[in-house]
């Protein structure tokens, strides 16, 4: 019994200690919250580690965003803006299954503004 209490306390301490070691900022932290939500809803199903769409993952994997080099980030931002503006992404086939994930005009505009600002920021920061 005593042993168990000790164990429990030890576990409790460990648990508390782990709190200060929160994992590195998750990738979406780099994005403003409203953008992060949009990306999660309309892009992550195919463009985030764990997705089965190999081609999509290769083109862009948001989980690896932080690891992408600067030029790749700028390139991707431009590409995101383009495909979203042209309505190519999310693709029709995907929307057939998940029509609720279609981006509204307002959301497209929001994404576009963000991609442009972010790319500009990255270019100036360099």
């Amino acid at each position: 019994m005593k042993k168990q209490i000790v164990l429990l306390v030890a576990l409790g301490i460990l648990f508390l200690a782990f709190q200060s070691f929160s994992p590195d900022t998750p990738p979406e932290k780099e994005f403003p919250e409203e953008i992060s939500i949009l990306l999660k809803t309309s892009c992550y199903d195919c463009h985030y580690t764990g997705a089965t769409a190999e081609k999509a993952l290769k083109a862009a994997n948001f989980e690896e965003w932080e690891g992408y080099r600067l030029t790749k980030k700028v390139a991707l931002l431009g590409e995101i803006g383009k495909v979203v503006e042209e309505g190519k992404m999310p693709p029709e086939k995907y929307l057939e299954h998940k029509p609720e994930n279609k981006l509204s005009e307002k959301q497209v505009k929001l994404l576009l503004e963000w991609t442009e600002q972010e790319a500009e920021k990255l270019m100036q920061g360099n």
């Binding site: 290769k58 080099r69 600067l70 030029t71 790749k72 700028v74 390139a75 931002l77 431009g78 590409e79 442009e116 790319a119 990255l122 270019m123 360099n126």
Partner: protein, 154 residues
């Protein structure tokens, strides 16, 4: 039976002959030094020649044509490839892109070459000289990255 074959044969020959009168316009404009990638970035010669032999035939306004381009329907086939290639990416208009798009183009160029999706197989069949070795690819990617970083610093 043999009469049918004869008629079909003659029909095909006539069609082929008529087809020769429909030759698409050549994709060979003068280089615009204000817009062309090679003119604007003047890469080292080995990079420039790689881009010219492996990319420029379909991704610029200066195709170097093989002799068989004069024969229709081959000429149509080539032309559709060139038009599609240019619609996707045209190095002759590089200068008209904004900074982010120029960076995007450079990064993309490296990626498709690294992945081996470009140059396309059908092109390589007839253009041995466009085959890129792993060293070629690395050199090209180093250059595109350098150039992209240069743009970022502009």
């Amino acid at each position: 039976m043999s009469r049918i074959i004869k008629i079909v044969g003659i029909g095909l020959i006539v069609l082929l002959l008529v087809a020769q009168f429909f030759r698409p316009d050549l994709n060979s404009e003068a280089v615009d030094p204000e817009l062309d990638l090679l003119a604007l970035t003047s890469p080292p010669e080995h990079i420039a020649s790689m881009l010219r032999t492996a990319c420029y035939d379909c991704h610029s306004n200066q195709t170097v044509y093989p002799w068989y381009r004069k024969v229709s329907p081959v000429s149509w086939y080539l032309n559709s490839h060139i038009q599609n290639g240019k619609a996707e990416l045209n190095f002759s208009e590089y200068g008209s892109l904004d900074k982010a798009d120029r960076i995007g183009l450079l990064v993309e160029t490296c990626e498709v070459v690294e992945a081996g999706t470009m140059p396309i197989q059908s092109y390589l069949l007839l253009h041995q000289e466009a085959r890129l070795t792993p060293e070629n690819r690395d050199a090209l990617c180093n250059w595109t990255e350098e150039e992209a970083l240069k743009i970022m610093r502009e």
